[in-house]
Subunit: 160 residues, 2 copies
């Protein structure tokens, strides 16, 4: 398991949709804030961005909506490093709420380290941050148990 | 190609992140509003929901962020029905902006038709809506050309 801090979110009334649930997009906003927290934790914070002109771009996101979330719920997001290479981080986000023993949602994001010059260009992590990310990476049973994960979305037909 | 209406979004200042770009989560909010438009168009509108107590739940979302989007941009989202069965719709959303000839993002969502009774339960589309959805489904070359689509997120290593 990772020792990354858990991100906590109270739901705002304007995030609730006509079904009385947290609107799908606001899971994404909570995840986005949780990733900001993660970046601060691993040293990719505002000060780093200012000194280096390097930042993180999101390349991909996959959400699985697993349980209904209502306006009165509070959400906790636990981040895990699922994989990392010299320029990219694959982060998994597990959404929990007190009403449910199972995760209410899971999300995966693919992040790219970018130097914002005249033309933005992918760039390697500084060595210390790279080592920290490697040390956080889930392995073995913890990685295998993480999910449900991203996939190619398709409708599988059952026999009628 | 589909003849579904295009959804247009002006970007709000609070949607722009510390990189000067549209924050990843707000692509999801624009997509969510575009899906509301799509539901209205195919008859799954507020009146339908009120009369039938049936609605749509989002099961999954996959976003591909392809180009930078800035605060001054306007976004157009074109929806396509990628697949449909008796209870589910697989919708593809292509994000365009005037500065780019290529899509700036693509998103896929998997939607489930649900009756909200004491316990929410998946339920078949009414026959007329089912027929309309079938008639909108992309086929052949148009379906094959749609993308980039959803996938299992992973870091593929290049040789050093």
């Amino acid at each position: 398991m990772s020792d990354l801090p858990v991100y906590r979110a109270k739901l705002l009334p304007e995030w609730i949709d006509y079904n009385g649930h947290l609107r799908d997009a606001y899971y994404g906003l909570i995840l986005s804030y949780a990733i900001d927290d993660f970046m601060d934790h691993v040293g990719l914070h505002a000060g780093y961005r200012e000194c280096t002109h390097c930042t993180i771009y999101t390349l991909e996101l996959h959400m699985n909506y697993l349980r209904e979330v209502k306006g009165s719920d509070e959400i906790e997001v636990a981040n895990s490093v699922l994989d990392v290479d010299r320029k990219r981080i694959h982060v998994g986000c597990r959404f929990a709420c007190a009403r449910s023993s199972d995760p209410v949602a899971t999300g995966e994001v693919l992040l790219l380290h970018v130097h914002q010059g005249e033309r933005p260009a992918a760039i390697e992590f500084p060595a210390d941050i790279g080592r920290m990310l490697e040390s956080l990476k889930l392995t073995g049973a913890a990685r295998a148990a993480w999910g449900p994960g991203s996939r190619e979305i398709e409708l599988k037909r059952r026999q009628p």
